[in-house]
């Protein structure tokens, strides 16, 4: 499906609301710290962009919509385009020194904070990974390596999975003698992470896009925080 840039594609959303969201993007300190100068519309960012090879995705259109202060188009892109970016920042090679990738980071955050339906849908598949990162502090754990999960990895995956604990203990760094996390995460680090998620508004964002995931995380976090003496933290 091609990217549809028609005027007023989301006609049920008022221009005022689109302008409000664009103002939220523009008020971000990263936006003001030169994520955008002006756009030549030259396409060097698209030429460098790996996602553009696979999707009808264009960091140029993001930059030019922002440079033109086109709130309507920004809203369309915030819904239909920003999730196709792989956030590799190859687009930073812009001769005007724009950073379309940074614009996208900000637009994604605004989309999530404001609970855009498209953001929920885009993030649906990531619930398990978010749960893992936010509850354990590491992204992928060895115990996810099950024969059924990754058949393309070959038959030896089964052997490894069977004696996972032994294999892991064979690794030289002691911090990797773990199976439920990629490496050993100390209690102190976890408590700090939970407090950071809480204080920086990440938990509020999760609540906005996935209430079920939010509830599960709160259960895990509240228990550990309470044990550590932070019984006054409420999500």
């Amino acid at each position: 499906m091609g990217l549809d840039l028609s005027y007023n594609k989301y006609s049920s959303v008022s221009l005022e609301e689109k302008e409000r969201l664009f103002e939220e993007v523009k008020s971000d300190m990263r936006y003001q710290d030169h994520a955008l100068y002006g756009c030549y519309e030259c396409g060097i960012c698209v030429a460098a962009c790996p996602s553009a090879r696979f999707y009808d995705f264009s960091p140029r259109v993001i930059a030019q919509a922002a440079a033109r202060e086109d709130a309507d188009l920004m809203y369309t892109l915030m819904n239909d385009s920003v999730w196709d970016c792989s956030q590799c920042f190859s687009c930073d090679r812009c001769p005007r020194h724009n950073s379309p990738g940074t614009l996208i980071t900000i637009m994604r955050e605004v989309a999530v904070r404001n609970g855009l339906q498209t953001a929920r849908k885009a993030l649906e598949g990531y619930g398990r990974i978010i749960y893992k990162i936010m509850s354990t502090g590491t992204q992928v754990s060895p115990d996810m390596l099950q024969p059924n999960a990754f058949p393309d990895w070959g038959g030896h995956v089964g052997d490894i999975a069977e004696n996972l604990d032994v294999w892991r203990r064979a690794l030289p760094p002691e911090t990797m003698h773990t199976t439920e996390t990629s490496w050993y995460v100390s209690e102190k680090t976890l408590i700090e992470l939970y407090l950071i998620w809480h204080m920086t508004g990440v938990m509020d964002m999760i609540k906005e896009v996935d209430e079920g995931l939010f509830d599960i995380l709160v259960d895990v976090m509240e228990e550990r925080l309470e044990e550590a003496g932070y019984d006054d933290v409420t999500f």
Binding site: L5, S6, Y7, Y37, G38, C39, E41, R60, V61, Q64, A67, R68, E69, L73, R96
Partner: protein, 352 residues
């Protein structure tokens, strides 16, 4: 005996600079100007601020006039229209009409600085309706309004909320016959766009263009500030037609880089009209027998290495009478013409 005086025809920026240069080098110069004032087109057309530095045009032109006024080496002939010429290097006899009387000016060499005229948008092949819609104006009209600090819709006197410039009107157009780029309009439009944003901050400003030609330092002196600081909206795509819709103008074109049709309502449209040879330029070419290119500009013979020599020895041309030129080009070529005209009369005097 050979005549060492040099006649400069036209008292715009080019003519003033040539005259100043000749006088500074210790030679006598006569300026023949058809109007009763010095300053040429920037003065006649009430330019507000100059491109690229946004300096007051009036002040800048006054600075050019000061060194030639009341200068014993400079004779200024106002209300003087050159009508004929005979003779050759070292001995030209140039006929002119001065307030109904014929006069003969004797000079050893001539520098033609008769400049350009703004393209008349009544001749454009699109349908912009300059003579039909009050709110369709040109860069020149806009300049006058900005100078008066009165940028309003001509139709109702109200401050506009949305205006657009359409670039390349009368330039780069095979159908009109002006295939050349007029060179200054991208800079002038961007400069005016900045001034509009300064004078009417609530007004959104668009520039519809084919290519933005902001060479050299114009890039970050005008283009970047217009886009980055003043949020002027550049859209690659030229309007094909302007129609009236209520009390607004509907501009139809294509937003090429977004691959979507563009139909936008504007309060005012500013046509970025280019340069054509002035009637004075065409007259001087005929009177002195100077070659003209297919567009009517005076053809210089030295290519890029000599931008002021013509096919007639002793007759030089500088500034926009030789083709589209910005002020830098004009001032530079006027200096070159002054030097070459002096060299010509001096060498001629030595051999004769």
């Amino acid at each position: 005996m050979a005549n060492n005086k040099i006649l400069v025809i036209g008292a715009g920026p080019g003519g003033l600079e040539a005259a100043r240069g000749i006088a500074d080098l210790g030679y006598q110069v006569i300026i023949a100007e058809k109007r009763d004032r010095l300053g040429g087109t920037p003065d006649e057309s009430s330019y507000a601020a100059l491109t690229p530095d946004l300096r007051s045009a009036e002040e800048a032109i006054q600075d050019m006039i000061a060194p030639v006024e009341n200068n014993p080496d400079v004779e200024i002939m106002f209300n003087t229209l050159v009508t004929g010429a005979e003779g050759e290097l070292g001995n030209f006899k140039v006929k002119a009409m001065q307030l109904g009387k014929e006069v003969v000016i004797e000079a050893g060499a001539v520098i033609v600085c008769t400049g350009f005229q703004h393209f008349d948008p009544g001749r454009e092949t699109q349908k912009y309706g300059y003579y039909e819609h009050d709110d369709v104006i040109t860069l020149v009209d806009c300049e006058k309004m900005l100078k008066a600090h009165n940028f309003v819709r001509p139709s109702n006197g109200e401050k506009p909320k949305r205006v657009c410039f359409i670039q390349c009107v009368g330039s780069r157009d095979r159908q009109i016959g002006n295939e050349y780029c007029s060179k200054v309009c991208c800079g002038v439009a961007s400069k005016e766009a900045i001034e509009i944003r300064q004078q009417v901050p609530d007004c959104k400003v668009y520039i519809f263009y084919i290519d933005m030609r902001m060479y050299g330092y114009w890039e970050n002196e005008i283009y970047w500030p217009a886009q980055e600081k003043y949020k002027v909206n550049y859209v690659k795509g030229i309007a094909t037609e302007i129609v009236k819709k209520g009390d607004k103008l509907l501009v139809k074109g294509e937003d090429t880089t977004l691959r979507r049709p563009m139909e936008v309502e504007m309060d005012m449209v500013i046509l970025s009209v280019g340069m054509e040879p002035s009637s004075g330029t065409k007259d001087m070419a005929r009177i002195f027998g100077l070659n003209q290119n297919k567009y009517g500009f005076i053809e210089t013979t030295g290519g890029p290495m000599n931008t002021v020599a013509t096919n007639v020895p002793g007759v030089f041309a500088a500034g926009a009478c030789t083709g589209p030129a910005d002020l830098e080009d004009t001032i530079s070529s006027a200096g070159s013409a002054a030097m070459k005209a002096i060299a010509a009369v001096r060498k001629n005097a030595l051999v004769s």
